[in-house]
Amino acid sequence: MIGPEFPAVLAAAAAGDEDAFGRLWRDLQPRLLRYFAVAAPPAADDLASETWLGVVRGLDRFQGGEPAFRAWVFTIARHEVLDLRRRAARRAAEDLPVNGIVEQAAPDDPAADAIEGFSTRAALAEVATLPADQAEAIVLRVVAGLEVQRVAEIMGKRPGTVRVLTHRGLRRLAERLGGANGGFRRVV
């Protein structure tokens, strides 16, 4: 998050200032990668690149504050995911190998996670085992840091639906992880 300086940073970035753009990038790139790690794991790097391409091209037309900017970036990101899924579906329909979407990766080493806590990667992989809508709602709220209303806009759903998806996803995670000692009890 950039904070009060955001309008100046955004304006400079839109004018081509690389330092300013770098700040936007460093703030959002890790979040984007984590979003993609849940929404389309094997393609995360590519999708992030595509997203930034869209950001670069649209930056001078964007207007709004930092929350709106974030929401805009993640709107582009989600379009990338949907595009990827469409392409994958087409390839599947053509009976060609599907490269884009692969089944979710399992967490690295659940036993170690239970002792040492989650790595970011393991945590995202765990979220990614949820039904796609639930996983996406949670990641957009937590990782992207967006409010319910904006998540709803990005996902094309009503805010109430986003709340329900979030509840269900969290609950499912709780059932799997347990709560008493915060351990990671899944047996693989």
Binding site: M1, G16, R26, D45, G58, Q63, G64, A71, L173, A174
Partner: protein, 297 residues
Amino acid sequence: MDHNDAPSAEMRRPPPNDPLALDDASVDRLLSGAGAPPGYAGVARLLAAAVAPPTPEELAGQAAVLAELRAVTRDRRDAAPARPPRPRRRRAGLAVVVVVGAMATGGVAAATGHLPAPVREAARSVLGPAEAATSPGPAQSAAPGTATTGSGGAGPGGSATTVAPGPRTDRAAAGPAARSALEELCQAYQEGNDGEQGGKLDATAFKKLAAVAGGDDRVEAFCEELLAADAKAKGPKEPKPKDPPDDPDQGQGGPPTSIGPPTSPGGSGQSNSSPPAEPSASNTPAMNDGASRVGGR
């Protein structure tokens, strides 16, 4: 395990028989790292890990996007002098060669005495391509000494009428020789621009330039664009066209207050009160300084 024993008044009561039931307030607290309801300590730890500070790997690759930024910014600047959209015709490139060639063979020859050396060289350098090109002919008829500058109009007689006009000519098609000839002309034009009339660039040469540029009044912009474009070495290749979503959440210029509780878990004050991050790569902004506290063990 954390207990949240101060339920807010407005929260919905979970069914008492469901140990994992959540109300909205608890969800918000959980998502923001502010605390875990009973049964959710593991989830809290997981979410904390999901917003852990960025790793160096996640912050690699900035150079690529900056290169993209440079390319787009440059394209935008080049396009900045607003001109009416003109059709981009492949023939335009050929026309450039024809015009410059014609200048070399015909008009310029007569005016050579007035031409600075660079222009003569430029003219010479395009002789070949011009002759190879199937000239429609009229270029030769441009009366060398008689045309005057400032006669206005985007379509001066003679060769200009054969030119598919437009500064947005497909210069690549004109070949390096013609391009550099144009550059020479432009340089001569710019150098002589503030001198007395006909100082550096004589009337005919100017007219040819105007014809290529699409009009007397466009010469300046055309030359600026041409020289600027060529001064900067070949940039990264044109990125594939892709439009971002059209409506970037217009007018959301509201208070930057509500990035949402999820952004600042742990209440570590990282998000809103953090000092402005220096734009140095080494200073990696933490996504969540308070991550380790979120689980609240």
